[in-house]
């Protein structure tokens, strides 16, 4: 998302109507996508500045206000506390700040794992598509084999075996998600390869790797960006799924999956503990989907 904004800004200086200017115009006219971008930015900003936004620490416990509803809670609750907008959790921590810290982890996992998948997938797909022939079919055969593996199960094995290592979680999920990216990039590369400017580069004596990095990859940015915006919510879901099974982020750190899991346990007595994290996560996933759809429409108008 941030990357999109930057790319578009750079291109803005160029006179004339390039593909990017057109795309940006179409995107800004798309109300659903723009709303998605605004809400996502708001959630991201809240997550980044969480310590400034909330007067409570994310691990600050207060045993006098255990599982209390926010003061505006419409239904009856055993106790209510003013000052805690989302109420408190089962050991008296402020739920609002925990949801924001959960957003930090969930969004970070989403972005970093997507970045990992982006790196592997784009390079792999571009190399396979550009080289073509037997190397291409060998590389894609490998992707096909990996596709039929039940990958989430491998991530679970990894998480259990390596004691829920935080960084490993990023890498493992990223390593799962690169396959589709590789396929998309390869398909694009196959058609770009036939263009004159590639022939010109080759004629000018540019090596294959330099051609791929300088000339092929910049031209697959469009479809890749669309897929990225659809990968991020997928990764966030995977992480929360693992955390829900108790295989993801560990206390006192938290993520939306952990919060939802805790909330589900307390649902009968303290429904707000499930409601707010679930709401934040659902809205985020919703927005990413809208932005992804909007980007696709903006970048590929004939595909509507």
């Amino acid at each position: 998302m941030i990357a999109t904004g930057q790319t578009l800004k750079v291109v803005e200086d160029v006179k004339g109507r390039s593909l990017w200017v057109d795309a940006r115009r179409r995107l800004t006219r798309n109300r659903a996508a723009m709303t998605g971008i605004i809400i996502l930015s708001a959630i991201a900003l809240l997550a980044i500045f969480a310590p400034l936004v909330s007067p409570y620490g994310f691990n600050e416990q207060n045993y006098d206000i255990i599982a209390c509803a926010p003061s505006w809670w419409p239904a009856e609750a055993s106790c209510t506390v003013p000052g805690h907008v989302f109420g408190t959790d089962s050991i008296g921590r402020d739920l609002f700040v925990r949801v924001l810290f959960g957003a930090r982890v969930s969004l970070a996992v989403g972005l970093v794992a997507t970045l990992v998948s982006l790196l592997i997938g784009v390079l792999y797909g571009a190399v396979a598509g550009y080289l073509g022939g037997r190397i291409d079919s060998l590389m894609m055969r490998l992707v096909d084999i990996l596709y039929s593996l039940p990958f989430v199960f491998f991530v679970i094995i990894l998480m259990v075996m390596f004691d829920r290592n935080f960084i490993l979680l990023f890498v493992a999920i990223g390593a799962v998600e690169w396959l589709t990216m590789a396929r998309i990039v390869r398909g694009q590369t196959l058609s770009i390869k036939q263009k004159e400017f590639i022939e010109a580069a080759r004629a000018a004596g540019v090596g294959p790797l330099a051609t791929i990095i300088r000339h092929v990859i910049p031209n697959v940015v469009g479809p890749v960006m669309v897929y990225v915006t659809l990968t991020v919510p997928g990764v966030i879901l995977t992480e929360s799924f693992l955390s829900f099974l108790g295989l993801g982020i560990q206390e006192p750190l938290t993520s939306w999956g952990v919060l939802i899991s805790d909330g589900a346990d307390q649902m009968e007595t303290a429904p707000w503990m499930l409601l707010f994290p679930a709401l934040f996560m659902a809205v985020t996933l919703f927005c990413f989907n809208f932005v992804g759809d909007g980007l696709r429409d903006a970048l590929d108008p004939k595909d509507r």
């Binding site: 593996l149 649902m267 996560m281």
Partner: protein, 314 residues
């Protein structure tokens, strides 16, 4: 056709081989083992236990022994569930998971298709918008949120239906009684219904613009005839290629659903096995899942060839 099927099935062998190898070594390079419990065994007992399960041999040799047994269809004993072999445990769990998964899949295909087609027929009307927004909700709200909420509403508060107070059991299998299956199957099917509806709407809209549909309309055929007799077959093609990913998603979802509702399926064995480092159990379940996915992908390709005569299987 037969030659194609044979080639596909033979092609599955290297895939399974990669899966077994990956899973085997991934579990072993990590520290810890199935017999490291808090209460340590006396060294000589531990040595004997390990020798009994061949765990004292070098890793490559253990791998070869495992492969050799696997070739004979032997998945080995479970390290943690004493007196059970892995095959027995899978034999207990698989029928439960399969029944859940297949019912959910059938429900998703039926309901999703119906919703998608009705949205396509009323494109850009309120029916279309409402189906698509509900579908969007189904996709973005994860299983582990819908499960507790549905449990709360239907299991604990209960609903009154025609004057009868109706509460559904919130957990347990109870021999696969219908009432016990309602909530888990619904939770599993919801996201798939949403995805199928979206897919179906998209392809149906495309097909409805085709010339042969215009011809059918011009002949004065009723809408139902057009949809069922002409459009559905062509529109179902993207759905068929989605079957493989759908199965994978339902298997993953069943991990959560079996956990939440306390169902004795293989998903629970997998999570428990992974936590206990029950190597053979985890491997067995992974192989079982992979085989399922391979077989269903294969069936989907065959179905694709039958539905679309333009596709030549070779």
């Amino acid at each position: 056709m037969m030659a194609y099927a044979m080639r596909r099935l033979l092609g599955a062998i290297p895939t399974l081989f990669v899966i077994v190898t990956l899973a085997f070594f991934m579990m072993r390079i990590a520290p810890g083992g199935p017999f490291d419990s808090e209460r340590r065994l006396p060294p000589e007992v531990e040595r004997n236990v390990k020798a009994a399960y061949n765990l004292d041999k070098p890793l490559t040799q253990q791998y070869l022994i495992y492969l050799g047994r696997l070739a004979h269809g032997d998945l080995g004993p479970s390290y943690k569930n004493k007196d059970f072999t892995v095959a027995q445990l899978i034999g207990i769990g698989l029928p439960v998971s399969a029944r859940l998964g297949l019912t959910a899949m059938a429900l998703a295909l039926l309901l999703g298709t119906a919703l998608g087609v009705s949205a396509a027929l009323r494109q850009n009307h309120w029916q279309d918008y409402s189906v698509m927004s509900v579908a969007m909700l189904g996709i973005t709200i994860p299983t582990f949120v819908t499960a507790p909420i549905l449990t709360l509403v239907f299991g604990i508060y209960g609903i009154s239906l025609f004057g009868h107070e109706l509460t559904l059991p919130v957990g347990g299998w109870n021999g696969g009684a219908l009432a016990n299956m309602v909530l888990p199957v619904t939770v599993l099917a919801l996201p798939q219904i949403a995805i199928v509806a979206r897919l179906m709407r998209g392809s149906m809209i495309e097909v409805l613009h085709a010339n042969y549909i215009r011809t059918a309309r011009a002949k004065g055929l009723p809408v139902l005839r057009i949809v069922l007799g002409h459009a559905l077959r062509a529109a179902a093609l993207p759905l068929v290629s989605y079957l493989g990913p759908a199965l994978a998603a339902i298997l993953t979802g069943s991990l959560v659903v079996e956990q939440i509702f306390g169902l004795p399926g293989i998903g629970r064995y997998f999570v428990q096995g992974a936590l206990n480092r029950d190597y053979t159990l985890v491997l067995g379940v992974v192989i079982c899942y992979a085989a399922l996915i391979i077989v269903l992908n294969f069936l989907a390709d065959i179905a694709y060839g039958i539905l679309d005569p333009r596709v030549r299987l070779n």
